[in-house]
């Protein structure tokens, strides 16, 4: 056996996105060349810092933004020192030492200490409640404070500040943005775009004060408010400072490296000590420091190449583009848009649509681009800018983007084909065109989901999904057909509609029969198709088809919500949101008896008991049943809640008995299984306290009767409802809603919310059927009523009585596991 050369020792200070990407490149090229040791001041693995905003707004969780999980570190033999801050670099001995005394010797050292947020040293800046917006700890603190509601002031109207403001607003706080410059994001946007952005934020209920200078943060024990230069006082429970960042270069400076604003590096990313590299936000290259992800990724590639002793890559600086990650606000900015001699501009403005685009040209080349409202062409403009492409030939139509630039409408496919391989397609995950097309060919990928799984492109914010589809089409040619029927899953070639049709047409009444008839490719399906088939059969053959528990997700199998630690949460039904002292007492007793750690109110105004052990579930249910409480189906692809306000019973403004109608509707609809969860709201007047206009089905009571709404949602997508019709009586309202439910039950694809189904079949079709075809409406209603007679049994009572007992007890054969 040959003696292998000893591995070189690579030490990295910092565990952010840049060194993570650098290691990806390094392991891709030379997986065994280095023993890697990482020191990380944060006690975490590598996560996607640019996705902190979706975490703050509640659209993503920490788990969703991890880039490299524990396994990755293990698999690559990386020594990760979590929560250890390096305090000394001994360049002579080539050794770093952490605060706790841990040391590591290196052959090559990479400093990736990032940057720290700038804090304006106004009086009160050190009060509890004054936060920065930099890492997950900040986000967690903000979320904690936001739980209590109230006012928040965000100082700084730049990219980070606005994302923080939008996130805090979505968490239910009143938010004021205080910004020193006269317009928002003045480094990225011109005045006009800054103005449009301000209007949009105001529309969302975020206060914006520009030209405002913070003088003092008020409070003694904790933050109470902010006083501006002009004397204005804004109350605040939290102040978030997002006024800029400065490179963390202190450690490098103490080690005697050249440091100006950041750690000075050459085009090879080497510092003044050739065995030490600096990478990311702490580095200063040709006088520039960068705070956006794309340049950091370019640097990462160069450092990896240098470590592999390849000198074919060097860093030449970056032109950067910016996208605001606030859901629903489309804003893109790249390059330099300042006015200047010899500069011209092309502006497109459609005030009614809220679209604004501006290109700044110099010598027939794009040097700056700002887009608001419609940013689809942003990356293309950015590429033209980076390429310094001469645009004189297409100047007349340039502002309309690649589809039209050049005179005649260009085939969009040709535009995608013309993009160079290095063109970044997915900004969130830093994936370029060549990586995507390469993976499609090498790994035989055929769908957007495949590309997501293998390259992570379009796996984060998803705005590049269209581009990924085009790349698939371009690479696969005729083999890719985006409009083709999407199969239910890999077990079949048939789509949902076809499967549903065949079940009814051929009277298939068991899962085996469906799989036989449609030539399923697997013996018993998978976790995607089995739940779908189980639902389709249940819906088609009420009272006949026997539900298959093993084809249900665990929540529906045991009628409780699985939590991240494997315990469950239990939510009793509260009809229309009403409860009594006896019910509350029973809940309190159960909480005490089973030592349930958390009790909280849900968004649907019910009580959630979290952290129940699985084996306790049947007795918890038995106790709740004894007090008259039944399962709230809070876990179900079925009817969940009917939220209500107090209506005419108590409210000065209520026009109808909204609580009464909510209770009637819930008693009528409960127990029904549906393609996805269904939530209702009934508001007693147009003030809409029950928030009926973002529910799957809503009722807004008006003087003349009941306005029925549908196709709203407040989940991953927030959607206001559409009006179905206004009816005069409660009976009519119940009939229309029952018919709508059944129509959705019979037609939608499994896991499509009601609004998605409505989008697919068309709102007019639904209105037309329910409003103009009385026979059809009554047919749907009657089928719903018929189906309900088999559905309305309390699943808790069944299980408390012993159904599926095997689910709740572990096997205890008293295994003696002493080593024999």
């Amino acid at each position: 056996m040959s003696q292998s050369t000893p591995k070189k020792r690579l030490v990295i200070i910092g565990n952010g996105m840049a060194p993570g990407r650098m290691l990806d490149h390094l392991f891709g090229e030379e997986p065994d060349a280095f023993d890697v040791t990482i020191f990380n001041a944060e006690p975490r693995v590598n996560y996607d810092r640019i996705m902190l905003s979706p975490v703050l707004s509640g659209e993503k969780r920490y788990e969703d933004i991890i880039i490299h999980n524990d396994d990755w570190y293990t698999d690559h033999g990386i020594t990760l020192h979590r929560g250890k801050r390096v305090e000394k670099i001994d360049r002579a001995a080539k050794r770093v030492t952490a605060l706790d005394g841990t040391t590591a010797d290196y052959d090559a050292l990479v400093i990736a200490t990032g940057s720290s947020p700038f804090i304006i040293p106004v009086p009160g800046h050190d009060l509890p409640g004054v936060l920065t917006y930099r890492d997950l700890d900040d986000v967690e603190q903000m979320l904690k404070i936001a739980e209590g509601g109230g006012h928040a002031v965000v100082i700084g109207g730049g990219l980070l500040g606005l994302e923080a403001a939008a996130g805090l607003k979505m968490q239910g706080m009143e938010v004021t943005v205080v910004h020193l410059a006269p317009t928002l994001m003045e480094r990225q946007l011109d005045e006009a775009a800054g103005h449009l952005l301000k209007q949009e934020l105001l529309r969302r209920g975020i206060n914006v004060m520009t030209g405002a200078n913070t003088k003092e943060i008020l409070g003694t024990e904790e933050v109470g408010g902010v006083r501006l230069e002009d004397g204005t006082v804004i109350p605040a429970r939290m102040v978030c400072m997002a006024v800029g960042i400065r490179p963390s270069a202190g450690l490098a400076k103490e080690a005697g490296l050249d440091v100006e604003r950041g750690i000075v590096v050459d085009d090879n990313m080497r510092t003044s000590d050739p065995s030490i590299f600096a990478l990311g936000e702490c580095a200063q290259h040709r006088g520039q420091c960068y705070g956006l992800v794309a340049p950091l990724y370019e640097m990462a590639k160069v450092v990896a190449a240098q470590l592999c002793r390849r000198c074919d890559q060097s860093y030449g600086g970056s032109v950067t583009a910016t996208k605001l990650k606030v859901t629903g606000v489309d804003l893109y900015s790249a390059g330099d848009f300042a006015e200047g001699e010899g500069r011209e501009e092309i502006v497109f403005r459609d005030a009614a649509k809220g679209v604004y685009k501006r290109l700044v040209l110099e010598d027939n080349r794009i040097v700056g681009a700002v887009m608001y409202g419609d940013t689809g062409d942003g990356p293309w403009f950015f590429q033209q800018l980076k390429d310094k492409a001469d645009i004189s030939d297409m100047r007349d139509t340039l502002i309309f983007g690649p589809a039209f630039a050049g005179g005649a409408a260009l085939d969009p496919m040709a535009a995608v084909a013309a993009l160079p391989d290095e063109m970044e397609i997915c900004g969130c995950n830093g994936v370029c065109k060549g990586q995507i097309t390469g993976a499609i060919v090498k790994k035989g990928l055929s769908s957007v989901d495949d590309v997501r799984a293998h390259t992570k492109a379009s796996a984060s914010c998803g705005t590049c999904t269209g581009l990924v589809e085009q790349l698939l089409a371009m690479t696969l040619g005729d083999a890719f057909d985006a409009s083709a029927v999407k199969p239910v899953c890999g077990c079949t070639d048939f789509g949902h509609d076809e499967v549903r049709r065949v079940i009814v047409a051929q009277e298939l009444k068991s899962m085996q029969a469906v799989m036989q008839a449609l030539e399923w490719k697997t013996s018993c399906g998978c976790a995607k198709c089995r739940p779908a088939l189980n639902y389709y059969l249940l819906c088609a053959w009420p009272g006949e088809y026997v539900d298959d528990g093993q084809s249900r997700f665990i929540n529906e199998r045991v009628h409780a919500n699985i939590q991240k630690d494997g315990t469950y949460s239990v939510v009793p039904r509260m009809w229309g949101g009403m409860t009594t002292a006896a019910e509350l007492r029973a809940i309190a007793d159960v909480v005490d008896k089973y030592q349930i750690p958390t009790v909280k109110c849900t968004g649907g105004s019910r009580i959630d008991m979290l952290g129940v052990k699985k084996e306790d579930l049947p007795s918890v249910w038995a106790d709740l049943n004894a007090a008259g409480l039944v399962s709230g189906h809070a876990y179900a692809k079925g009817l969940r809640t009917v939220k209500s306000c107090v209506g005419t019973d108590w409210c000065r403004f209520g026009t109808q008995d909204s609580t009464g109608l909510a209770v009637k509707l819930e008693k009528f609809l409960w127990g029904s299984w549906t393609p996805h969860k269904v939530k209702l709201g009934v508001s007693g007047c147009p003030r809409n306290c029950a928030e009926a206009t973002c529910k799957d089905i809503g009722v807004v009571c008006v003087d003349s009767g009941y306005e029925i709404h549908f196709a709203g949602a407040a989940g991953m997508h927030v959607k206001g409802t559409e009006v179905l019709c206004t009816v005069g009586t409660e009976e009519e309202a119940i009939e229309y809603i029952g018919a709508l439910m059944q129509m959705y039950r019979e037609q939608a694809w499994y896991l499509d919310r009601l609004y998605k189904w409505a989008d697919k079949v068309g709102l007019d079709y639904i209105r037309d059927t329910l409003m103009n075809d009385g026979d059809a409406r009554r047919g749907y209603f009657d089928r719903f009523v018929y189906s309900q007679q088999f559905m309305q049994t309390d699943p808790w009572a069944e299980r408390a009585a012993g159904k599926d007992a095997h689910e709740f007890t572990a096997l205890e054969p008293a295994l003696r596991l002493e080593v024999v």
């Binding site: 697997t522 018993c524 295994l815 024999v820």
Partner: protein
């Protein structure tokens, strides 16, 4: 008797595990999930997804695979390996059905404890 010899121990009847389902065996060092496939194969794996520690016994069983209930990772019941684009492996233990009774290799489980 050599230490490599399996030490088969009766755990439960095959019928105690639902077809396309699982039961949990509690051991001193954590839970082991016993799965029964549609064709009555029985498999023993650690009841812990390598991704986020999800209880695999609560997942949906299909063919000779299980889908984790927390984030839908799919594992082979035979090898314990993650399928698709995910990577990771779950510890498996020898399990056999003899005359309608499920047997586990006590020695391998003991190694888990050690």
């Amino acid at each position: 008797m050599s230490n490599d010899q399996p030490l088969w121990t009766d755990v439960c009847a095959l019928e105690d595990i639902p077809r396309r389902g699982a039961r949990v065996v509690k051991t001193q060092s954590g839970c082991v999930a016993l799965f029964r496939s549609v064709d009555d194969g029985v498999f023993a794996l650690d009841d812990r997804c390598p991704h986020k520690g999800g209880p695999l016994s609560q997942g949906i069983v299909h063919d000779r695979s299980v889908t984790c209930p927390l984030h839908n990772w799919v594992f082979s019941l035979e090898t314990g390996e993650a399928k698709g684009a995910d990577t990771g492996i779950v510890q498996t233990y020898p399990a056999e059905v003899r005359a309608g009774r499920v047997h586990l290799d006590l020695r391998r489980l003991a190694a888990k404890v050690a």
